[in-house]
């Protein structure tokens, strides 16, 4: 029991914070309901994908500074292909093409490269998204045979997110490749000596990050209906969520559940601040303070635990 608590304590704590925030939202705005959850989930989708991608790289002991630019590239490519060919499947080609292979410091350079690529593809916002794909992330889940009241609280965007994470991450986590990703992040030297192929594993980690970043870019295109060549604020947001979620930036520690909850916390926080009509500049201050405070509190807790 204490072991479970030790291992998942951080995520559980975050979950509690999220629950409190949601209750607070309900108190501030009694009308907050299914549509609110839906928009929350849709807003969180690109952040969550970016965070998952970043999380995997960070667990592997790296960091991917190019994540937001990759999202932009994926977004514009998807939007353009769907626009020109009217073929939604093209969106998926992107995922494969973009599953790319950079290295740690390299991602800083790749940030500029991908930025350039996005601009070369589309020099102003444009393109279009296939309507049926857009439907995929809008509204609540409908399961035939179940009364809609039961499922109306479950946003599709959330289901999409969970589906992808479950399909890719859960099997990965327990597989040898997943363990190798943890291993190279934890101690590269030891991993090498244990026979882990360092290079290949790193490639795989960045590959997965690319995949999720591309999904994130695609989800932006699906929600906006167009492709934007300028990268959004996803780089820093994803790093922040990863750290808030309990993944150590030194690698090897943590999982993806915490970071995803952290994304929802940050989104809910923004929602609450808007609902309270807080002065926008103060919003920035509050967001910064809370981010720091949570990590600080976590550090202090960990320190007391050690005593």
């Amino acid at each position: 029991m204490t072991r479970v608590l030790a291992r998942y304590g951080w995520s559980l704590g975050l979950l509690a914070i999220l629950a409190i925030l949601l209750v607070a939202t309900r108190l501030i705005q009694p009308n907050f309901g299914a549509s609110g959850l839906d928009s929350l989930a849709r807003a969180a989708l690109p952040f969550a994908f970016a965070t998952v991608g970043m999380g995997i790289v960070v667990i592997a002991g790296g960091i991917d500074l190019s994540i937001a630019s990759i999202m932009a590239v994926a977004g514009v490519v998807a939007a353009l292909l769907m626009h020109q060919m009217g073929d939604a499947n093209a969106g998926w080609v992107v995922l494969i093409v973009l599953t790319r292979v950079p290295d740690i410091v390299v991602t800083l350079a790749m940030l500029f490269v991908w930025e350039g690529v996005a601009l070369l593809i589309l020099n102003a916002p444009g393109g279009a998204a296939a309507p049926w794909l857009r439907e995929l992330v809008v509204g609540a889940v409908t399961i035939p045979g179940l009364p809609p009241e039961l499922t109306s609280w479950l946003p599709r965007a959330l289901v999409v997110l969970i589906a992808f994470v479950v399909i890719f991450w859960l099997p990965l986590r327990r597989s040898k490749l997943g363990l190798s990703i943890y291993a190279i992040g934890s101690d590269q030297h030891a991993a090498f000596r244990s026979g882990v192929p360092i290079g290949l594993t790193r490639v795989a980690a960045y590959g997965f990050a690319g995949l999720f970043a591309a999904l994130g870019g695609l989800s932006i295109t699906l929600s906006t209906g167009i492709g934007e060549p300028i990268a959004g604020p996803y780089l820093m947001a994803s790093v922040a969520a990863v750290v808030l979620g309990g993944v150590a930036l030194t690698g090897g520690k943590g999982g993806l559940l915490g970071p995803i909850i952290a994304v929802f916390i940050l989104r809910t926080l923004r929602l609450d601040l808007t609902l309270l009509s807080v002065d926008p500049n103060v919003t920035t201050i509050i967001e910064g303070t809370i981010m720091v405070a949570v990590v600080m509190a976590g550090g202090l807790l960990a320190m007391r635990g050690r005593r």
Partner: protein, 325 residues
């Protein structure tokens, strides 16, 4: 067979010299870039252009000093750009109200305060520097926005001293060098020949080992981030002297390049390794690269792509030459 092992080939000797002085390949690269520029735009290598390049490389190199120093301990200072902006904006808006000297004090005070908060968070509360400085950056941006609202109608003025440093020239070279050269010497000397400098490397290499040797790392980190804030503040003052237009995002655009300059200059983001001279050359390379790409008549997308690709090539080559693994 044994004989071949005993003799050292001239090539490997060159390799070793280069490895022990990692700045050399960087300087060579800088000259290669300038040569390329001179081919593309004959006659560009004139005094005025060199002066301009140095003028814009200086603030970048100073902000990159914040990154170099913090990266040596395995940290980073993402609030440096904001701190510089705060200091620049505050000095320009307060000078008409309270006069130059007082405004400078207040501006630097604000930047130092940001550094102090960073130091508190990183050193004492053990928050990861990336999150801490990102957070203080956000907070400071918010505060600056709030502050801005009270000074919309006060006009702005930049103390003459910084205009002198930022826009004046002596013998064709920018006056900013009066500030930068002593600064650079101080940092380079400080890193090599002072206890504080050594401790930065030591903490980055193995914090536990420094603890064992009696170092209270919070003291070092506190001092380091405060110093970083101060450097950022001074950078902001110099920069606003160069640009002469305070804005709410003045130095923010220097942020990523400052990290890039340190990385290109051979500072390891994992700590324990790096030099400031490398960073200075890194800043010059980035500035020259910027000019090169500005003058090339190619689409913006291709420009950025090239910028990234060249940085990539440089770091890849550099890592190989200096055999860091």
């Amino acid at each position: 067979m044994a004989a071949t092992v005993e003799t050292i080939s001239p090539l490997s000797r060159v390799g070793r010299i280069v490895r022990e002085n990692p700045v050399i390949p960087l300087v060579l690269l800088l000259f290669a870039l300038i040569a390329l520029l001179n081919v593309l735009q004959p006659g560009i290598f004139n005094e005025r252009w060199v002066g301009n390049t140095i003028r814009f490389a200086m603030p970048l190199a100073m902000l990159a000093a914040c990154q170099t120093l913090t990266m040596l301990t395995g940290g980073i200072d993402l609030s440096a750009g904001v701190a510089a902006t705060v200091s620049a904006f505050v000095v320009a808006t307060l000078t008409p109200l309270v006069g130059g000297p007082m405004a400078i004090m207040l501006a630097l005070g604000a930047a130092v305060l940001i550094g102090l908060v960073n130091g508190f968070g990183v050193g004492i509360c053990r928050v990861h520097p990336l999150i801490m400085t990102l957070g203080t950056g956000l907070i400071a941006t918010g505060c600056l926005q709030v502050y801005q609202r009270y000074v919309i109608n006060t006009g702005s003025e930049i103390p003459w001293f910084f205009e002198f440093l930022g826009t004046g020239r002596t013998l064709g070279m920018p006056n900013g060098l009066y500030l930068f050269v002593p600064f650079a010497i101080l940092i380079i000397w400080g890193l090599r020949r002072t206890g504080f400098g050594r401790l930065l490397y030591a903490i980055g290499a193995n914090e536990n080992a420094t603890r064992l040797s009696g170092v209270r790392s919070w003291q070092v980190l506190m001092a380091l981030y405060t110093l970083s804030g101060l450097i950022a503040g001074i950078t902001g003052l110099l920069y606003v002297g160069i640009i002469r237009a305070p804005s709410l995002s003045l130095a923010n655009s220097l942020m990523l390049p400052s990290v890039a300059a340190a990385v290109i200059g051979g500072t390891s983001i994992f700590g324990g390794r790096g030099t400031y001279s490398g960073t200075i050359v890194g800043a010059l390379i980035l500035t020259v690269l910027g000019t090169l790409l500005t003058l090339l008549q190619i689409p913006e997308g291709a420009r950025r792509l090239l910028f990234g690709a060249i940085i990539l090539a440089v770091t890849a080559l550099y890592v190989r030459i200096t055999d860091q693994s």
